[in-house]
């Protein structure tokens, strides 16, 4: 398709969305901070807070 | 255009590396199953 090729040569072909996402360093920064902090640290701290007291055992 | 794309997709760019990678994957799987064997030999715990 000559039209398409022409477009590419002019550099007008749109950049794929995934490529834009990968190039967005600061969005990646945000996700890279948020995911481990929530999934590992915050969830972990919530579990530590909720641990029950040692129950009474019959000797 | 289509033809070119198909040709690209059927190309083996790095057959040597691909072969090395398969060796790696096999070694990985063998090590994994060796550990599974060690695991089932220990006492029950949960």
């Amino acid at each position: 398709m000559p039209e398409e090729r022409e477009k590419a040569e002019e550099g007008k072909e749109p950049i794929p969305a995934w490529q834009l996402f990968y190039d967005d360093i600061f969005l990646l920064f945000f996700l890279g901070v948020a995911i481990p902090t929530l999934v590992y640290t915050v969830w972990g701290l919530m579990e530590i807070v909720q641990i029950p007291e040692l129950p009474v055992f019959k000797p | 255009m289509e033809e070119e794309k198909e040709k690209h997709e059927n190309k083996m760019e790095a057959p040597g590396t691909f072969a090395l990678s398969i060796i790696f994957l096999v070694a990985f799987i063998v090590m994994w199953f060796a550990h599974l064997k060690w695991l089932v030999e220990i006492w029950g715990v949960r």
Partner: protein, 175 residues
């Protein structure tokens, strides 16, 4: 080039070897990931997660002493040997640098072994069967343990706990 900016659009289809390798790697990774939850239901060996908070170390020590008083059957090198009933709660106390008491368990029976530390973090490593768990102060870690082989087993501390770390060895007798 890795050292230069790539062409304007680099989002391009994979070649055959790339596609095959990613597919194989992904398949194997999914397999080894799914293993974890699946083995959790079908496997006999899984890391326990039953835990209690021990605010007062004396409370745990009293449980250990109560168990020793009730089930003591002898002494080994000055440490009481305890033979608790199968299925019961068994208390094992870690401190610098001793495992207390010595346990005598029956092969094939299940016990609830409570681990807690009186001072700092220790590592509970049963040798030579090579099973390893952490003992954290202020927490009680409950292992639901079923010994399946008889013999003398030793408990090595495998988390650094000060200069006497290498002296911290305990014992379990499985009959």
């Amino acid at each position: 080039m890795a050292i230069k900016e790539p062409e304007r659009i680099w989002w391009k289809p994979f070649t055959r070897d790339e596609r095959l390798w990613v597919a194989m790697a992904l398949l194997w990774m999914m397999g080894s990931f799914v293993f974890m939850p699946v083995y959790h239901f079908i496997g006999a060996q899984n890391p326990p997660s039953e835990t209690y908070r021990v605010r007062d170390h004396e409370k745990f020590r009293a449980l250990v002493d109560g168990m020793v008083a009730k089930y003591k059957v002898g002494e080994d090198k000055g440490v009481p040997v305890v033979k608790p009933e199968p299925g019961s709660d068994v208390f094992m106390q870690a401190s610098m640098w001793q495992w207390y008491p010595v346990l005598e368990l029956e092969k094939g029976k299940t016990y609830r072994i409570h681990l807690s530390s009186m001072d700092i973090t220790h590592g509970f490593s049963i040798q030579p069967i090579n099973m390893n768990f952490m003992v954290v102060p202020d927490y009680d870690y409950v292992l639901t343990l079923t010994p399946t082989t008889a013999g003398d087993y030793y408990i090595v501390c495998n988390e650094f706990c000060g200069l006497g770390h290498h002296l911290m060895v305990g014992k379990m007798i499985i009959k």
